[in-house]
Symmetry: C4
Subunit: 410 residues, 4 copies
Amino acid sequence: MTTSDHVVPDVFSQGKIGPLTLRNRTIKSATYEGLSHKGKVTRDLVDFHVRHAAGGVGMTTVAYCAVSGEGRTDRHQILWTPEALPGLRKLTSAVHAEGAAASAQIGHGGPVANPKGNGEPALAPSRRFHKTTLSFAREATKDDLRRIVQDHARAARMAVEADFDAIEVHLGHNYLASSFLSPKINRRTDTYGGGLQNRARLAREIMTAVREAVDDRVAIIAKMNMDDGVPGGFWLDEAIPTTQWLEADGTVDALEMTVGSSLLNPMYLFKGDAPLNAFAEVMPQPIKLGVRLVGHKMLREYPYQNGYLLEDARQIRAAVNLPMILLGGITNKAIMDRAMAEGFEFVAMARALLREPDLVNRIQADSSVRSLCNHNNRCMPTNFTGTRCVLADRGTTRSNTWGTQAGYAS
Amino acid sequence: MTTSDHVVPDVFSQGKIGPLTLRNRTIKSATYEGLSHKGKVTRDLVDFHVRHAAGGVGMTTVAYCAVSGEGRTDRHQILWTPEALPGLRKLTSAVHAEGAAASAQIGHGGPVANPKGNGEPALAPSRRFHKTTLSFAREATKDDLRRIVQDHARAARMAVEADFDAIEVHLGHNYLASSFLSPKINRRTDTYGGGLQNRARLAREIMTAVREAVDDRVAIIAKMNMDDGVPGGFWLDEAIPTTQWLEADGTVDALEMTVGSSLLNPMYLFKGDAPLNAFAEVMPQPIKLGVRLVGHKMLREYPYQNGYLLEDARQIRAAVNLPMILLGGITNKAIMDRAMAEGFEFVAMARALLREPDLVNRIQADSSVRSLCNHNNRCMPTNFTGTRCVLADRGTTRSNTWGTQAGYAS
Amino acid sequence: MTTSDHVVPDVFSQGKIGPLTLRNRTIKSATYEGLSHKGKVTRDLVDFHVRHAAGGVGMTTVAYCAVSGEGRTDRHQILWTPEALPGLRKLTSAVHAEGAAASAQIGHGGPVANPKGNGEPALAPSRRFHKTTLSFAREATKDDLRRIVQDHARAARMAVEADFDAIEVHLGHNYLASSFLSPKINRRTDTYGGGLQNRARLAREIMTAVREAVDDRVAIIAKMNMDDGVPGGFWLDEAIPTTQWLEADGTVDALEMTVGSSLLNPMYLFKGDAPLNAFAEVMPQPIKLGVRLVGHKMLREYPYQNGYLLEDARQIRAAVNLPMILLGGITNKAIMDRAMAEGFEFVAMARALLREPDLVNRIQADSSVRSLCNHNNRCMPTNFTGTRCVLADRGTTRSNTWGTQAGYAS
Amino acid sequence: MTTSDHVVPDVFSQGKIGPLTLRNRTIKSATYEGLSHKGKVTRDLVDFHVRHAAGGVGMTTVAYCAVSGEGRTDRHQILWTPEALPGLRKLTSAVHAEGAAASAQIGHGGPVANPKGNGEPALAPSRRFHKTTLSFAREATKDDLRRIVQDHARAARMAVEADFDAIEVHLGHNYLASSFLSPKINRRTDTYGGGLQNRARLAREIMTAVREAVDDRVAIIAKMNMDDGVPGGFWLDEAIPTTQWLEADGTVDALEMTVGSSLLNPMYLFKGDAPLNAFAEVMPQPIKLGVRLVGHKMLREYPYQNGYLLEDARQIRAAVNLPMILLGGITNKAIMDRAMAEGFEFVAMARALLREPDLVNRIQADSSVRSLCNHNNRCMPTNFTGTRCVLADRGTTRSNTWGTQAGYAS
């Protein structure tokens, strides 16, 4: 990967991911919206994505839609059921009307799932006690895994039916596939545990099932960890060959690398302030109690800097030829240009777009525009009440109709 | 708020706040002078402001003049009584003679007031013990609040009579209005406590009373906190809608945002050194004892940098259309230019002008001039003996006549 | 040493060390390869150096070949015996075929030697207990020293026979000669202890014996500490006269200055992350136990920066006229240019070349190329299983033939 | 003091201090040489200053020559007696031969004096126990002070007889005059204690006596503290009026401002490393014991930066019109230029010239030359054995003749 052998594209030029062409190379990355209700799309959720689509991004991502009931991290989370389809179609249609593409993030929460909301235990590579939920996660059987792989395929097919342009499979943050990758969490002794080939098996089976389900009708993106942020966890040395296997499998059209563990070190992704008080306040029990007990350890602060995942992502960029989406600290034109120069084809933004949904349009109009996001991370706990930047919207992004029949998008 | 849709003004060009036009866009912000005596203006206080007016600022601010007796933080503080008027007129006249405008800062100390000097308890949203004064503040009744709102109106009318060009209402630093805004200090359960709408009620009522009292005869400035500097205190997320309500109320001509709590974290405003020894030495009892007991906690040091409130103030700048005055670390032309480019209409300076009252004139003559202020903050405790930069004037700004009949300005 | 009295050479121009001319001024410095077997060269070791030779360096260095059995730090380490010669010749021949020169690093581990692998105690200036090996090192007698000096001469002669172009004598890292230099480790009262003249005696005798053994048939390089990184250890003030004596002795053609102590502070050389877990995992017992016991103290982290040994090395550069090789944080063209401008004739690279063996070629083609090495130092413990960058090669650089008869290079 | 109203001189142009013209504006500031013997000049001391004179400075300063026996900090220190004169004349003559001027630093050690070496107690403003010497300093009587003032006058006259070009009076580092200035050390209740006017009385009397003694036959320099580096000690706020009084008294031709307290915080001057071990090793008893007991507190480290006293010295520069000599972190042309641009007429260098006595000549020849001084401060304790940079001269600057009859300069 040298800087001399390719023409550096403009971030505002069109970009391609598999069969999909985006109007520009910016993507609203998934930030769990907290706006769906009983597994279905609400008008508020449509509004949320229309806001971002109108703000200029090339594609907006509907965050975490669970492929299986026991994989939900929240009881209201979108679940890939026939009942959800009409709402999802309303959403994609509204996003398309703004000229943007829509991506559906699909996945299984694994040990991060909420056993209380789901009414069944979370699944993990090995039985383990989780301090934040004060409950045991059950060891997934091989039958569980077979079923879950097929659940991904089914979800992918439904995403195509719902007119999504891309499917982003969640292989990060110690959700199910990521917890299997982790040498720290995965203690299995069967073909899904042990060496990296075994630990990566589930992720690859999922990607293969998704590819087979949708072929190249939509773009397939894998979101995967480079570093769990935990001593002994999944790290770059294993992420590199894993991405190379995915590339060789031909199951992925683009990679979005991320870091951190929703179980063990969530702030590793969210550089900036660690809003412990704000978090504890809004978390439902028993998580609230867990945050109070172990929060200081879990919500360590990491310094923010522009493009803070670039140094790690360069390691992957040098190892594969797949198009890559750079995430982490993308808030201005300079860092976008840097990403393009380093060989990334796309940039993904999250908190900065919560603060200013029209930031992309404004940067395109004036490259000196600086984001108002100050990395206070108080957006993090708002996903329990309607995700928002508290400096942009103190109240809630849940309107009065949320939770009522009139609130559903369809 | 983009940088491309307006012409950036020169800081040395004329600027308007409501009905008032200033010769340039620099303002001497309020630094309690410690020069008034028994509630009246002294010659020393006039000299103090003439010095700053002659030094080039567009407007000088007479610091904290109490609207009610129990709201004084110092027994000698100016109180809006008929006896104070002649001296105040002398002051404004002398300032005008130097080509500058004069602003009167009015307010009620609330829990920051000095119960010993005032001979009555301080008032607060809820009864509370204050460690620095070793006394209880009384919970303000609704009758108290009605009276105090009217006291602000009366003070504003007298300020007009005294020929002030602007009135700056003190809504910051956990003084009375600010202590009502604070979710940490305000524990009321009536219409002045609870949600932000309730907590902001007193501040809005005060501003409305002031506007009604003076109409647009003078400029009305609100000085308000963006961040109390205390976990659980008033913060940007609540400051933004509060300023938007003030804008909608039409009661304010310009905003000057500040930070910190005179009760809980005064150094949060005064970045730089924390002169604990110097402070304890000159404080009257029982505050001296309090400083010794809790001083290390209260006088934490914060690193100084140019324009240190800019990152926070940008959040407000983006939320309202009111003219704004940027305060905090304004000491040279470069940061003045930066403030103008970021959309602030004025800059306010305090410590740097104590060090060099003619700094504005000198910067206008030579944009490379660097301030001599080294943020040692030893000016802070001098407000008990005549405020000064100890590097500019080791003695006192109280002349020999201070405290005698000959010392009064009228 | 001024910058004005010499023409600054290009790092990619030819450079001379004694009788040797290199195609350019970059050198792969010694990183113990962990690829030899029972004292002999393996095909894997040849491949390792061919990789680096093909990658563009002017010379590659075969790391630490022990001059005496009890000086080995690893049981498989190359030992200068007739049995080793054929393999060494294969290695030099293969390196030459790529246009690069080959250097042999020779030395005696002294207190760093592995008593368990060697079947005999380590030698040190004075008897001492070593926490990492949990064993006592024996005090070297004068007879030991005489023998070891001659062992160096013998090793040097064999290196010439093996067609090496340069011999690098290891006088650093508290290996034997370096432990004699250290005022902290060397407590002898004979002619080899006490003042610096005495403590430097062994190093000088070794260099004299090497020079006498090979005359100027090959280049002779001394690798010596500037700073053991230990309070009371060998430091710059003693390194300066020691290098001046070596220059006066006429026994050295070039100096490569290093820092740190394999006994007391190994991370002092390896700025960047301290991979304690990774280290403990792969260390053989009893070292593993030792690392767990004292590892946190021994593996302190030091911040990485480009050319991190330059400030110290300048002190030597100013004191001698010998050609010098700058080591430490050389990863891009800018720091190479800086080294040349500061009067160094060569630069040596280690970790960056493990990450990308072709980095030199790529920098020569495009001076903007940035190294992918991120100083994670997880290469350090890999020397027990085949040295590699874990981001470049997760497995091992030991092929399947390693340890079998087919694996020997000859 | 603006930057626009004067032409910035080149540091290598001639400069004037009172009646004296220097060939350039660089001065070797006093670093106690440890080379005199029994109060007289040695050949080694002459060589020391010839080295610096030949190296290019405009003037070299003979460090601390005691005006009274009980004011010596070392038993071998030069004392202004007729026996010392011939040696001093040899020294000035040798310096003049190199084209440089010679300055004599005169003073009284006060509480810093060495009671054991002097055979009499140290003198201080008030009786006090000194932890480093484990002895009591006696309170100086008014008679003592009268005598000491006259001792300064006598010393000044003898300096003129010895053909010195300048006299630098030591008013810093909590030596006698400086200890009187300190509100922390000076607890007197007579006319020499209390307010600053009283505390500054001794310093002013000394300067007046010196001026009267030598008129304008030589240049008179005052070296004075800006900051003792101790809470409650002498600080900028008192240094400013004190220098203004000296200027008004007409007793000073130039000011050299310094910081720190040889009693309480010596490292405050010597930014960089704190060589505690090296210091303890060479200190005579009982100081060695004292260093071990309180050393960590006394030898705190302060970060080094170029021109590290500039921010403080600017405060004085703005308050007086006297020529000023900037000391502290002057090691290259850029900081010299900055000093000139800020209105300083001279720069003084110490450690950098110990490292490279010819640094001034080399900077003049090539403005890009960087100093080799790395602020390790191991020069500090060498003043007990012949002051030197241990990186330039590990041994001693005392030759074999030192301490013998042949060693005296005359």
